[in-house]
């Protein structure tokens, strides 16, 4: 009995310790910057280390002198204060010496900056657009254009399921780029300011609505590189990761081909006639990916900034008005125009879903082909 109790006791203690330190399993004590996988990132890393060592030397000298004084020039050891309190020459010396050190740092810093700012002659141009809270990648001249959205399930975020190793750093469609090619990124935003950041590329640039920023990179090693949005952009700022998949050139060409096939498949989907149940199933997926962040999975929203869709006068009103707000957004609010973000099929599906979910039960639905006509007419 006693033994059992102590076993139980030990088990409770053990699980308590475990629950306190569940993270030890994932232990990763990275303390320094990544060297990265581009020439520029390596140059930046080297610069970082040079300055770091200079700072260490300065602090050893300053703190050394300070602690030496603290230990030896204390009253309890009978130290008597020497009354010297100015010296112009020493002031000049410790003004000039730091200037020399700073110039020595400024030289490599300037040359690295010049390299970073060289955006000439790119092989591939990709437009990166920040949205609340996802990224859109448009390969200029390739007719490839897609969104990249976080795929970490809600159960993991709310601790109902064990977190996978790429927790919060995983997306449905990564940005695929070839190695050894100069890639030029053009950054902009659809709503607020975001910042596209991949540590391994040492590349961070703000995506600003109404303006275009450029940056370029040339990746040396194939691999998957993960990053995050770096500029506070609203409530799901922490949930819009970036995944870059760097592949060889042949793999890249093959990937381009599959993208074109997919695109053709999507186009034919809008031609067929959909059943209500089919549209609702598809609509729920679209909703979870694009609308749930603000309007929530319950359709309750977070009023007054993000209105509820359940029992909403728009969702339960005329189909045209409902479609209009989804296609064109509402200016002056966070509701963006999804006409430029989703396909006709996706819009038909999500509108149908919203009209029939959460007890809205409107029973009506719209076909992708009709949405396509509407979108075409608007253009």
């Amino acid at each position: 009995m006693n033994k059992r109790l102590s076993m139980l006791n030990r088990r409770i203690t053990f699980s308590l310790i475990l629950s306190l330190l569940p993270t030890s399993v994932w232990a990763a004590w990275q303390m320094n910057m990544n060297r990265g996988v581009t020439d520029n990132s390596v140059a930046i890393y080297d610069l970082h280390m040079i300055v770091f060592y200079i700072c260490v030397v300065i602090s050893v000298i300053v703190f050394g002198l300070m602690f030496w004084s603290i230990f030896h020039h204390r009253k309890s050891k009978g130290a008597v204060a020497h009354q010297f309190y100015e010296s112009t020459s020493i002031e000049i010396i410790w003004t000039l010496v730091p200037i020399v050190i700073l110039v020595a740092i400024a030289v490599p810093a300037t040359s690295t900056l010049l390299d970073t700012y060289d955006h000439s002659e790119s092989d591939i141009d990709i437009q990166v657009t920040g949205y609340q809270w996802k990224w859109r990648y448009k390969y200029i001249g390739e007719d490839i254009d897609f969104f990249s959205v976080l795929t970490t399930p809600d159960e993991e975020i709310h601790n109902k399921k064990e977190k996978n190793p790429n927790y919060l750093l995983e997306v449905d469609k990564p940005l695929v780029v070839p190695i050894n090619k100069k890639i030029r990124f053009l950054f902009t935003s659809n709503d607020v300011i975001h910042a596209w950041w991949v540590p391994d590329l040492a590349l961070k640039k703000d995506a600003i609505p109404g303006f275009i920023n450029e940056s370029s990179t040339k990746i040396n090693t194939p691999g998957i590189y993960r990053g995050q949005c770096a500029e506070l952009c609203g409530k799901n700022h922490g949930f819009m990761p970036i995944v870059v998949k760097a592949v060889t050139e042949t793999e890249y060409i093959a990937w381009l081909a599959t993208q074109k096939v997919e695109k053709a498949k999507m186009a034919s989907a809008s031609k067929k006639t959909w059943a209500l149940a089919e549209l609702i199933t598809k609509g729920e997926q679209v909703y979870n990916k694009n609308c749930m962040a603000c309007h929530l999975d319950t359709g309750m929203g977070i009023p007054p900034v993000f209105p509820a869709l359940k029992d909403s006068s728009i969702v339960k009103g005329s189909l045209e008005a409902h479609l209009d707000i989804v296609l064109n957004g509402k200016s002056g609010t966070a509701m963006s125009a999804f006409g430029s973000q989703l396909s006709a099929t996706e819009i038909a599906a999500v509108v149908t879903y919203e009209r029939n979910a959460w007890g809205n039960n409107m029973g009506d639905f719209i076909q992708p082909a009709d949405v396509e006509n509407l979108m075409g007419a608007a253009k």
Partner: protein
């Protein structure tokens, strides 16, 4: 050398009851109110830091939703900057500047009363936004447009009004300091004989007068964009979101020196006292402060290296920022030289001042790293930046304030604080602070962005350590409050000049400092 004139004035004591505090024009009463207000704000802002660190204790969302997290980081920043640090310095200025320059009071006593009494209402209004529909400000203390305009919760209007009120209060306080220092110094006290604390505050006051209107301007532009259909920060109407950042940081960078210069002054008072040796290089210290203040106006865009500036802009702001290291270095070298071949003792004010010199230097060195534009592309908006500015603001501004309070508390209340409890407060704070903020350098370099409510798994271990350090640091401030009450209730009576090495006019008045001092000016040779 107790001043005889002070004794004659005893019958003009404070009024009784609440009206003493509401209508007072006495610099000591107003100073006390500022300091008490700032302590309350420190705990409110600290409680918000507790919420933030509790949520970040483990990966995953446990306690609060992301939108509330954003409100917490915003309010934590605003309250600590405008509610805790700045009023504490104005409180110290009110108490000490007249005593240090031999003036009977501040030059503009009614203005003084008004500039304090604006503050509690401003902060009550700001805190009330947390209970409004749509929540309080959730766009970070830097409130970048258009997140703070088009995409802001409706309470943003209250936030704008609060900023106006705080700005008004700061400007009035600053004008008062400038007028007092320039006009009311005792005969014989030339500017270059003035205590360093007064010098730092004079420069700070000029910075405040220069940049608070800029802050007022930028929030007014926000107000116009939100309510009156203008497009200052909206590209759709011909504006530019980056304009916001330029205007904001033109205020924001001098603002960080506003929060550190008075601490420089405190340390320059405390170090010589406990080293029993005059401050080394007084003249160059004054020039260094002026240089820092002037440079602070031409470095603002180093907060915006990733915004897409032209190359020439990046280079200009990189070089000017690096240049700030020179006068800052001069100050640190002078402090170290003051300690060299001195006769030091280590009472609590000295411990805080020494910790200030060490930890502020750490923050300054990471500042040099951040100044380098190409490397800043990696550091920018990560926890490395969070570590940097907490190293300059917590051991910088806050430790400077603690050093000042322990140093002058005996003069204020006539009683000596409990030295061993004060040392406990210091050591717990020192250890807690370093556990909290040092690992932030590591997670930042490893790639953790700031202002996220949840993070990927590789940052989990350090974040747990950071949170534990933060809880320790926060709780240890209760030791300070306990010591404060203990001192006021039952502290030993203090001598007129409790510190052996202390010089300056403030130690020549009685202890506790009478309600009116220096009715006839002292003579300074």
């Amino acid at each position: 050398m107790t001043h005889s004139a002070t004794v004659a004035n005893h019958e003009h004591g404070p009024a009784k009851g609440l009206s003493r505090w509401l209508f007072t024009t006495n610099h000591k009463d107003i100073g006390t109110m500022y300091l008490v207000f700032s302590l309350c704000m420190l705990f409110i802002g600290g409680a918000m830091a507790f919420v933030i660190r509790a949520e970040l204790f483990q990966p995953g969302l446990q306690l609060i939703e992301p939108d509330f997290f954003n409100q917490m980081i915003t309010m934590h920043g605003l309250i600590m900057v405008f509610g805790a640090v700045m009023p504490a310095f104005v409180g110290l200025a009110n108490w000490m500047i007249p005593l240090m320059i031999g003036a009977p009071d501040m030059a503009l006593p009614r203005l003084n009363n008004l500039s304090f009494w604006i503050l509690p209402f401003a902060f009550l209004m700001m805190l009330s936004t947390l209970f409004m529909d749509g929540g309080g400000p959730n766009f970070g203390w830097t409130f970048y447009a258009p997140l703070s305009t088009t995409y802001a919760p409706p309470s943003v209007t209250f936030f704008i009004f609060t900023v106006h009120m705080m700005g008004l209060s700061s400007i009035m306080g600053a004008i008062n300091v400038v007028v007092t220092i320039l006009n009311m110094r005792a005969p014989g006290m030339t500017l270059m004989k003035m205590p360093m604390f007064c010098w730092t505050w004079l420069i700070t006051a000029f910075l405040l007068i220069a940049v608070m209107p800029v802050l007022g301007g930028v929030v007014t532009m926000m107000l116009m964009d939100v309510h009156f259909g203008t497009s200052f920060f909206d590209a759709g109407g011909g504006g530019d979101p980056v304009l916001f950042q330029h205007v904001f940081w033109f205020f924001g960078h001098p603002e960080v020196y506003i929060m550190i210069l008075p601490s420089f002054g405190v340390v320059s008072e405390v170090l010589p006292t406990f080293a029993r040796k005059r401050l080394f290089g007084y003249t160059s210290m004054v020039y260094a402060i002026v240089a820092i203040a002037v440079l602070s106006f031409v470095v603002w865009a180093h907060h915006m290296f990733t915004v897409g500036m032209p190359l020439a802009g990046e280079l200009f702001f990189m070089y000017t920022t690096m240049l700030i290291a020179v006068p800052t270095g001069v100050k640190i070298f002078n402090w170290v030289s003051t300690m060299f071949k001195s006769s030091m003792t280590f009472e609590t004010p000295m411990l805080f001042a020494l910790a200030f010199v060490i930890l502020f230097t750490v923050g300054g060195l990471s500042g040099i790293m951040l100044a380098l534009a190409p490397v800043d592309f990696v550091y920018h908006d990560t926890y490395f930046v969070v570590a940097h500015f907490h190293y300059v603001l917590v051991p910088g501004a806050i430790f400077g304030i603690f050093a000042a309070v322990y140093y002058w508390l005996p003069k204020w209340c006539g009683r000596m604080y409990d030295e061993s409890i004060a040392k406990l407060h210091f050591w717990l704070s020192f250890i807690g602070l370093n556990i909290t903020f040092f690992p932030m350098h590591f997670v930042g370099l490893a790639g953790m962005p700031r202002r996220i409510p949840d993070y990927s798994l590789q940052f989990a271990d350090f974040n747990m350590i950071i949170s534990m350090g933060a809880f320790l640091f926060g709780m240890s401030q209760l030791v300070f409050v306990y010591n404060l009450f203990k001192t006021l209730r039952s502290g030993e009576k203090s001598a007129h000049r409790p510190w052996e090495g202390a010089h300056g006019l403030e130690w020549t008045v009685e202890t506790p400092a009478p309600y009116h001092t220096f009715a006839t000016p002292p003579k300074v040779d």
